[in-house]
């Protein structure tokens, strides 16, 4: 009973906290101005607190670029940032032992998410480093007998760039085309495998169009032809069920900041039975079984482990919710706007990544119009250039549709209100931009745009 009165005292004390709760339902849904000064400073009194709260920030609908930290992950990381700061490779004192124990616990958490053995997980600085290790490491180790690699045209920039640098070293690389749906043709893959192929690299879920490749079938083909199979699962881990033994995956890249973990950490899964040999890229003290030397950042890997554990528990709940929200977004937009194309196969698709092309509307102007929603028109890596994304070009999208594509990302923290607001603004601005577009006028008059002969001056 004493406990209950204590709860009541706490409850009455809580409303004394400054006012942001009163504005709770509308926060984040209206942007009144972007305050460029960092909001990390603790406000000195209630007035400035309210002032800081009134500067709202855009809704976050770009989860493929990065995700916010889950509070449970931050809670797991904090002790290792404050008190337990030892180097996990120090074998002589308690600071080292406790850090090492935390690191091994995190390794077990990551391994259990993908069905692997903890000894098969190597911590890296992110999925880019993992991809580099997988592709360059495997290719260089087997360079005396095998000189060929296979990958797809829709891979992440780091995979394509690693392959390009290997071509400069004398390797041959086949870039498999994808069908209009974004999925590779398994027959083409089988035909491309040569006796001197060492590695096939196909990403599990594409970060731009959300397409799921047939990983199980590809794994089957590769294991039957004795070729190593690497998959960049940065967007898929913790979101769809993955099992490295079931899908016959030999190498897998994992990214921390795509699964509500910290930035700057990732992992690579390297199969031990049968053993995949990899030439190390980073030389040093032999940490991480010699495959990735350098002190393992304990707070970051603890965060990665916690993120993997939370993802394993929440996978079903999140998937159901995200599917429902994605369905809502697509239905609402398609119902109110004509000439909207969803890029990527609608069936083999991860629901949280929706790439829509709005015909007769320029993608950059739509992004600028939707200034209170954080969206992207392609991947973050290619957002600096004005070229349409190579992924959209690979799936055969017309130039004009490729320029008008927007990627909507729905994640664990996305609410129904955010989706509704985004949909409403999107419909409003697309209609407005189309009203201004001469192409739209011509289409309304029944002119077929493909038949127009644009004059040259």
């Amino acid at each position: 009973m004493l406990l209950r009165t204590a709860w009541r005292r706490v409850a009455t004390a809580a409303p004394a906290a400054p006012g942001p709760r009163a504005k709770a339902p509308t926060r984040g849904l209206r942007l009144r101005g972007i305050d460029l000064t960092p909001q990390s400073a603790v406000p000195s009194d209630a007035a400035t607190a309210l002032e800081a709260e009134s500067v709202l920030r855009p809704l976050y609908m770009d989860v493929q670029a990065t995700t916010p930290l889950d509070p449970r992950v931050l809670d797991a990381m904090l002790p290792y940032l404050v008190n337990y700061y030892g180097n996990p490779h120090s074998r002589t004192h308690a600071y080292g032992w406790e850090s090492e124990a935390a690191m091994e616990c995190a390794r077990q958490q990551v391994a259990s998410l993908i069905g692997a053995d903890p000894r098969e997980i190597i911590f890296t600085s992110g999925a880019t480093e993992s991809n580099n290790i997988a592709i360059k490491g495997v290719a260089r180790f087997y360079r005396s007998r095998k000189k060929h690699l296979i990958t797809t045209q829709t891979e992440h920039k780091c995979v394509l760039d690693s392959c390009r640098s290997l071509e400069a070293e004398g390797f041959k690389v086949t870039y498999l085309p994808v069908k209009k749906s974004g999925i590779i043709d398994l027959k083409e893959l089988e035909a491309a495998i040569q006796p001197d192929t060492s590695l096939v690299s196909v990403m599990t879920v594409n970060n731009e169009i959300g397409v799921k490749q047939p990983i199980k079938e590809i794994g089957q083909i590769c294991s039957s032809r004795k070729v190593y199979f690497h998959t960049d699962a940065a967007q898929a881990v913790g979101k769809i069920p993955l099992d490295v033994n079931d899908m016959k995956i030999d190498l897998m890249s994992i990214s921390g900041h795509k699964i509500y973990g910290p930035k700057g950490v990732g992992a690579i899964y390297i199969r031990r039975r049968p053993r995949v040999r990899v030439e190390a890229l980073q030389s040093g003290g032999g940490q991480e079984r010699g495959m990735r030397s350098g002190t393992v950042p304990t707070p970051l890997v603890v965060g990665l482990g916690a993120a993997c554990e939370v993802a394993q528990q929440e996978m079903e709940y999140d998937h159901k919710r995200i599917s429902k929200l994605a369905e809502r977004l697509i239905q609402k937009i398609m119902k109110s706007l004509p000439d909207v194309v969803m890029n990527g196969d609608p069936e083999h698709h991860y629901p949280g990544c929706i790439n829509l092309s709005f015909a007769y509307v320029e993608g950059e102007s739509l992004l600028m119009a939707l200034k209170d929603v954080a969206l992207s028109s392609g991947s973050a890596c290619t957002s600096a250039s004005l070229e349409p994304s190579y992924v959209l070009r690979a799936i055969g999208t017309d130039e004009d549709l490729a320029h008008s594509s927007i990627r909507f990302g729905i994640g664990r923290f996305t609410t129904e209100e955010e989706v509704d607001y985004t949909v409403e603004k999107c419909i409003h601005h697309v209609k407005r931009l189309r009203e201004m577009s001469p192409l739209w006028e011509m289409v309304q008059d029944g002119i077929d745009l493909k038949s127009i002969k644009w004059t040259q001056h």
Binding site: A24, P71, L74, R412
Partner: protein
């Protein structure tokens, strides 16, 4: 020691919702409230006392996490 009673579970539920409403960030606040409500609703028909105790312990740990987050996030 007796297993957690209905009253204790309800107290825990109310405490967690109260703490969740104090989150400053919109995403965390809405997620916490939604997840707590859905999790308690999903498990409301669990009968096995050992399982109930495990769930209650997990909830208490999560309540501690939420409380600590308020100090970090401000």
């Amino acid at each position: 020691m007796a297993a957690s009673s209905r009253a204790q579970v309800l107290d825990l539920y109310r405490a967690m919702l109260r703490e969740s409403k104090r989150f400053g960030a919109y995403s965390y606040r809405t997620y916490a409230i939604r997840r707590i409500r859905d999790a308690f609703r999903e498990n409301k028909n669990v009968k096995d006392p050992a399982e109930i105790q495990a769930l209650v312990n997990k909830a208490k740990r999560d309540l501690g996490i939420i409380r600590r987050q308020h100090h970090v996030g401000s």
